[in-house]
Symmetry: C2
Subunit: 154 residues, 2 copies
């Protein structure tokens, strides 16, 4: 609950919103208030030194109005920003899931491929054997093992 800093007024504050302006004086903090500095071009007599326009007095009615509007905008902006961050996080999760799915699929395909290749090789050997020994034993030879492992590269 925002309260007026300074003198209390604590406890059930008046229904009115009170805004405080803080002003401090900050002796420390050597905040280098480095500012633009157009680097005045030499001794050019250019008087163009744009001053800040006070816009209006603090207690102006228009001022208050502007502030209010801005406060609203700020709130909106922040909310949106937060939302976006959340969405991004969500996106990460989704992508991660998708990734896993793809990875699984790859695994499956790889396996399938490997099996087929093995079959192929085996068959090729059989053919070769047959060619060498047209009249071999009785049964259709079954090679003990034809190990083929890896497949792809990258």
């Amino acid at each position: 609950m925002s309260r007026a800093p300074q003198a209390d007024t604590h406890t059930l504050g008046p229904p009115n919103g009170v805004s405080v302006i803080q002003t401090h004086t900050h002796p420390l903090s050597a905040a280098a208030t480095q500012q633009d500095t157009h680097t005045n071009t030499g001794g050019a007599p250019a008087p163009a030194v744009r001053m800040k326009k006070p816009h209006q007095e603090k207690d102006s009615d228009e001022y208050r109005q502007r502030r209010e509007r801005n406060n609203l905008a700020v709130k909106k902006s922040r909310q949106r920003s937060k939302q976006k961050a959340q969405d991004t996080q969500q996106r990460v999760n989704e992508l991660k899931e998708e990734n896993e799915r793809l990875e699984a699929k790859i695994k499956l395909l790889s396996k399938e491929l490997s099996v087929l290749k093995d079959l192929f090789l085996e068959h090729a050997h059989n053919l070769a054997d047959n060619a060498t020994q047209p009249t071999s034993n009785a049964d259709t030879g079954s090679s003990p093992a034809h190990n083929n492992g890896s497949t792809n590269g990258q």
Copy 2:
């Protein structure tokens, strides 16, 4: 940048920080700033309304010190938060890339698989033909077309 951080500090004002309270009417619009209400424990007539201890006066030395520390913490926290958001975004990009890579790989494997399967089918047909007609023509038959299309499901 950053000239007078806060309310005015009107030009070289008094080295003394002054807090101004805006006793304006401040219809903070419909800002729902509800809060508190400590849930009175039971129906005890206890007037015990714990007050927040003002901690210290605003111009206290300790106060100033606490503020400074907090400001620092705040800055740190925000910076970190921002960093995190950035990292998350980065992660999204990486995951997206990874995704594309995987997708490409899948495509490749699928194609490879399809080719092998075709070859297999073709061969099977040949075998079947041979079985039916052990004494076929001279050459090693080459079937015109054995179209096999799709491959996977899911």
